[in-house]
Amino acid sequence: MKDIFITPFVDMFAAPDFLLQVLWEGLVSGILYALIALGFVLIFRSSRIFNFAQGIMVVFAALTLVGFHAMGVPAWISVALTLGVMLALAVSIERIVLRPLVGQPDIILFMATIGITLFLIGFGEIIFGGENKVMITEELGIPTDSWVLEPWGGLLILEQKDVTAVIAAAMLVVGLLAFLNYTRMGRAIRALGDDSQAALSVGISLQTIWVLVWFIAGIIALVTGIAWGARAGVSFALEVIAYKALPVLMLGGLESITGAIIGGLMIGMLEKLFEIYWGQPLLGGNTETWFAFVLALIVLLFRPQGLFGEKIIERV
C-alpha cells in the first residue's frame, strides 16, 4: 500500500524538476494524441463517420513531404505540394468511396475508412518503400536545440522542436475553433453533422463539405506527421499512435473539439506520470501501451458520453 499511495508522491515532491520534465514529455505526446483525435472529431462531427484512416493519413502526409524533399524540392515547396496531395486525396476519397455510400448505415462507412487505411498502407509502401525516413526538421526551419532550465536548482530540458510543436498545435486548434464557430463554412460543417436533410434544405452541399473536412483532416495529419516525425522518424509504425486517439476520444467524447484537446493532454500526461512513478517501480514498466485504455474504460463506466461529449437527451 505504501508503494502505491505514499512513495510516488514523496518522490514527486523530492524532485519537482523531474516531475516537471515528466509532465512536459507527457504534454508533448499528449498534444500529438490530441491532434489525431481532432482529425477524428472533425470528420465525425460533419458526417458521423468514424474515420479509422486518420492515423495512416498522418504517415502518408509525412512520407509525401519527405518524399518530395528527397526528389530535390525545397522544403517549403514540398509542404505546399504535400497539401496539394492531401487535397487530391480528399477529393478522391469523397468521389470514389463516400459518394456512392451516401445514406448507408454508419458501420458501412466505418468499414470503408478501414478500406482506405489498408489501401494507403499498401499504396504508400509501393511509392515510398517500407524503411524508416528522417523528417526534414531543420530544412523546415524548426529549431533543434534545447533549452536547459534550472527550476529549484534542478534540471529541466525543453527541446525546441517540441516547443515548436506545442505552439503550432495550439495555433492550429485556435484557428480551427474560430473557423468552425464564426464562419459560414464552419457552421455548415457543424450543421451537416447534426442533420443532413435539414442541411440540404438550407443549401449546404454534402459533397463540398465532405471534401473540405477531409482536406482539413489532411492538414492536421501533416502537422501531426511533421511534429511526430521530428521526434521519432517517419515510418509506418507511426500509424499505431492513431490507436491512442481512441481512448482520447472515449474520454473527450466524439463530438467535442475541446474534449479532444483536453482528453489528449490528460492521457499524454497521466500515462507518463503513471509509467514513471507507478509503472516502472511496481509493474516493471511499459504501462504506456495500455494505461490510456484502462483510464478510458473507467471514465466510460461513469460517463458513457465521455467527459465532454454532448449529453444524449431523448424525449420519450
Binding site: 459560414r184 463554412m185 457543424r190 447534426d194 442541411a199 440540404l200 434544405s201 449546404i204 473540405l212 463530438e255
Partner: protein, 272 residues
C-alpha cells in the same frame, strides 16, 4: 375559371402577383407505387397556397418534388417562367426555395442563433481562405447577416432562447425555430410541411399568426401542407386538394369546401 396568369385580387382585397412556380403534369413513382399522378397547379407570387388531403394523398411527396428531394419521372417544375432542370435539394435551396419539415429537422447540437444563421448560408459569399482567417469581407458579411438574423428572431419572438441549444427546446418552439431558419434565407418561396402538426390550440394560433405576418410583412410566397382543415381554410388564399396521388380540387377555400368530390374524399362515400 377566369384567367389569373397576371395575378388576381383575394377576397380580403390583397393584390396577388403572377405565376411564381408551376407544376406541369407531375408524376412520381416509387417502384410500382404511384405517389403523384399527373398533377398540375401553380403558385402565384405573394399568395398563401395550401395543399391538403387525407393521409397518404401524396402531399409531402409533392412538397419534396418542389424542394428537389424527389425527382418526378414525368412532368416539369417551372420556376420564375422557365422549366427547372433536375436539381439537388441544395441547388433548389440556393435558388430561393426554403422549407421546413414535418418531423422538424433542426441542428440539435447548435444554438437557436446558429441554427437560424445557417439559413443565411446562401447569402454569404466570402472565399474559404478569407473565412479561415475571419478577415475583411468574411467579417463584414458575418456582421451584416447577423443583423438580418436578429430581425427574424425578433419577428418570431424567440429572443429569449437565442443562445439555447435547440435540443433542449419544447416541440412548439422548435417548429418556430425551424420557421425562423427558413425565413432567414429570405426565400422567394417558403414551403411549410405541416407547420401545425402536433401542436396545441394556443401554439396553432401563434403559428397561424406568424405565417400570416410573414406573408404580410415580407410578401413571402408560402406553400403549405396541413391536416387541420379549419386552419387551412382561414390561412390560405387558394387550396389544392389531393387524394390517392390525384388532384381532386383546386380553388379558393370556399370553392373547395363546397366541392362534392372533396367532401367525399374527406368524409367517405357510403357504399351501396
Amino acid at each position: 375559371m377566369k384567367d389569373m396568369t397576371e395575378g388576381y385580387v383575394t377576397a380580403d382585397g390583397r393584390q396577388i402577383g403572377g405565376v411564381l412556380m408551376e407544376m406541369k403534369d407531375i408524376t412520381l413513382r416509387f417502384g410500382g407505387v404511384t405517389a403523384i399522378k399527373d398533377i398540375s397547379f401553380d403558385i402565384h407570387e405573394g399568395e398563401i397556397r395550401a395543399i391538403i388531403g387525407p393521409n397518404g394523398a401524396g402531399k409531402s411527396s409533392m412538397l419534396n418534388v418542389i424542394s428537389g428531394f424527389y425527382t418526378p419521372q414525368e412532368g416539369q417544375v417551372w420556376y420564375k417562367g422557365a422549366p427547372r432542370p433536375a436539381m439537388k435539394p441544395y441547388e433548389v435551396a440556393r435558388m430561393g426555395v426554403a422549407r421546413t419539415f414535418q418531423n422538424i429537422a433542426l441542428f440539435e447540437g447548435m444554438t437557436v442563433l446558429d441554427n437560424v444563421m445557417t439559413g443565411r448560408l446562401n447569402h454569404m459569399k466570402a472565399g474559404i481562405l478569407a473565412q479561415a482567417v475571419w478577415w475583411g469581407k468574411a467579417r463584414d458579411e458575418e456582421i451584416e447577416n447577423r443583423e438580418h438574423v436578429e430581425r427574424v428572431i425578433d419577428f418570431l419572438e424567440i429572443q429569449s432562447i437565442r443562445k439555447t441549444p435547440v435540443g433542449r427546446l419544447p416541440y412548439g418552439l422548435k417548429k418556430r425555430v425551424e420557421l425562423a431558419r427558413a425565413l432567414a434565407a429570405e426565400p422567394s418561396l417558403l414551403l411549410l410541411d405541416e407547420p401545425m402538426a402536433g401542436m396545441n390550440v394556443e401554439e396553432k394560433e401563434d403559428m397561424s399568426r406568424f405565417i400570416l405576418d410573414v406573408n404580410d410583412e415580407f410578401g413571402t410566397t408560402i406553400a403549405l401542407i396541413e391536416h387541420d382543415m379549419g386552419v387551412v381554410m382561414d390561412l390560405s388564399d387558394r387550396v389544392v386538394v389531393m387524394d390517392y396521388g390525384k388532384k381532386i380540387g383546386d380553388g379558393t377555400p370556399d370553392d373547395v369546401r363546397n366541392d362534392q368530390t372533396v367532401i367525399d374524399a374527406y368524409l367517405g362515400v357510403p357504399q351501396e
